[in-house]
Symmetry: D3
Subunit: 186 residues, 6 copies
């Protein structure tokens, strides 16, 4: 029921149990494409696992510790975006996301991220947000770079992905450096 | 972050921890007015209790067992609406709500209820929804009556309210009888 | 070990784990007869499920939130009676029961109910007790009617029973209206 | 509600939350007398602690792991008897009890124990039951001795009691050695 | 990582998850020999059960309620020793142990026990420690006897072992009677 | 009881509840010195908080998810070292540590770290370990630098420390790059 409108075409919906089938189907149809950079794809082989993922995301949300939202483009689920665990003591969090292949190149993810970052800094009053992208995943890295996130370094062999370790680049934005959509539209 | 737009003026927002202060303040300012029909008002004397209420509502939401939303009128919190525990075996639930005094008589609650009922029947695929109103609370009873809920009976002394028992009228709507806003606007 | 003597022939025993086999057998032998009005019969196919039911009933009892008792007639288990969740804030509860076919028509259930209601009003100090019976189940409805419970209304499609919804009649007794066995025998 | 009749005068009742006040009062009135051999007396200073004790006993009962019953003499609470944790792997348990001062010397405790032991051997199908009594508490030791329990040894400094350690005598009865009341009355 | 050195050859290591395979293998290779006196041998048929045992031992350790350590002889696992639940109210605990066949007769277990008892009395400040040995297991009984534990009695049919009950002898040592290795070496 | 010997003077002991007083006292005596870089110092004002910290560290240890050890120099507690949460999916962890003022400059921490890293790579079979040090804390940074950890970048405003945010430098060591003490001494 609950959503966040990004623009005329794009909406985020807080994932509920009832979205499990649609979310699994989307991941399943993009399996070959997604598994290149996402470690959970190969082991997600049934809708019931997706439901488990949604349950644990909702539990995190109920504990003020992040959430997962579906990205909807003209009413169809196109991908997923969310906040990982929130470090309230240090007022920081990190963003994760993925998009189905045929929704890329339309600016969907960047605008979704911008909305999330406004929420992070202005509603949750956090101070810092990270995006970690695989060092060799140029498309994923383009998103924080386009939003002027700072590249703070590369953590080596930080993720196990389908049989080998990959390096991750840490991108971060501080509240004091953020130029909001909201301010722009003000 | 997550909301449901009812119309140009009215929005429902899923209550998060950060809404606790605003929600408590609204209840506190309407204390005399609200306590006439709501049993929790007298014992809610600090924002931390409201936060506890929001936490347990979010927990219910994460377990697919109801939720609480704030009703916002032109950006200000005006009241609360939600689903109590969901009986999945029998596919039914019930709606509860309250509105601050100065937002009454504008059709806010009826349109919020209609949106919720659409969600109940079409998104959650439930079959039956109840609204229980105090037998002597004419304003509260007007809402289900306006939406053509059936009066199924009066349960006597069903609620302890500030020192005495009151009777509650059970109103119910079945899916097969519901005329949706969505259908109307279709 | 713990029982409540109704009369020379009838006893209630708080169900313990060790009663699981006997209770399952009784339900299993009355399967065709019981499934007409009880939704759990078809899905109860092994003693271990009955044990799970007893465990959860004992847990409710340990939390002051209802219980289940076996009805014993001349030492043999004849059926089941219990209190569903207790609403302490509003001091009310509801009674559920079933009896094997060959023990019907002997007044067993009415006397068991009367004993339970005495306990509800005089030991637990509750104020209101409900019995919900299927609208078309004349035998079950006869029990609250015989005890002068008030018919407060019919909740439509309130229970999913083997593939269709059925209506339930709400019967209720208030403490102020109860004529006790205990008082009668005093 | 649930009780076990020992004889015309004596009944055991499974302790429920509602017995907390009566049980606390009894212990409180016998404080000086009871503290000589019971370690919990000095630290039990309010009814809410007794309620906590009953709650944990009910939880044990719901987990098939012992229980506590009130001993009632002609309708008045006279003491307490129960089973400590049940060792199902080895099919054994132990009995604990206490009696208010003015109910002593009437055979109440011995008959209560005999009933409990019948339950232990014939309903729970356990194989062994222990009673541990303070080595210097002649009255408490008389009970297992009267029932022909075997003295298996003295465990030294086994209990901390109001500032010093005391020795406990282990008495035990095996199922194969038990002469039941039930058999006697048969 | 964490160990306790007994002497040049013998070390105790707090069991971690990663020891599960080695511990299971040791028990598995000594299956025939160990099952004579240990009830868990027959039902332990896979390493995952041993891991479960280590997990629950670590949980007990984290709750200040006992632990399990591997006994290592010249770097190889030779057996197991540990503290069962700690009774803090009465400041007592008990020791359990077993050794693989080819490590017997070298004094390993006695020196491991002596180290543990020093820890029990001087680090944990307990007052009493028990060792329970099967009445017919002469080798196991020799260990507490060699350390001058007092034989306090025999509890009959106290353990179910592969189809029959066995008697256990209770050996106990009080702090006031303990002659420590540490003191001796002082 | 359980320890890891680093050299003739230095030992690590897995922290148990009974170490709470000694650990609190050490932190308390070094309060002014430690608070410069450790966020928990100001809010740790009683031994019971230190006990809570030890409990949660033991719980993590029991779940195979890190631990805390006391560093002992010639028998006296000198500081603390441990593993934060273990990321088993990606086989990595991070090390945290602190040392009381008068134990600095003796190489204690570097040798403790080296022992821990051997454990991480060879016993736990992890692949990567991080040390995060405040960018302005030269002494703390010297430790990973001395061990040839790679500086992978600086995460800005990553920690809230007594009223302001500080930057942290990420140092990391991969298993393939590690030159062990053990190998050296081999």
């Amino acid at each position: 029921m609950f959503s966040h409108t990004i623009n005329a075409d794009v909406k985020l919906r807080l994932l509920e149990i009832r979205h499990a089938d649609e979310l699994f189907r989307l991941a399943d149809q993009n399996r070959v494409y997604l598994r290149e950079w996402l470690p959970w794809v190969d082991s997600t082989t049934a809708s019931v696992q997706t439901e488990g993922y949604i349950r644990s995301s909702l539990k995190a949300f109920s504990e003020n510790n992040g959430f997962s939202a579906g990205i909807f483009y003209r009413g169809s689920m196109a991908g997923c975006i969310g906040l990982h665990a929130i470090d309230w003591a240090n007022r920081q969090t990190s963003i994760g996301y993925w998009l189905a292949a045929n929704y890329r190149g339309m600016g969907i993810m960047t605008s979704a991220c911008r909305a999330l970052i406004d929420y992070i800094f202005y509603d949750l009053s956090l101070n810092r947000v990270e995006i970690r992208a695989a060092a060799l995943n140029a498309k994923s890295r383009a998103i924080p770079e386009r939003m002027k996130f700072r590249n703070e370094g590369t953590v080596r062999q930080a993720q196990w992905l389908n049989g080998h370790y990959i390096d991750l680049v840490i991108y971060a934005m501080l509240k004091e450096d953020w130029t909001s959509d909201i301010v722009q539209s003000g």
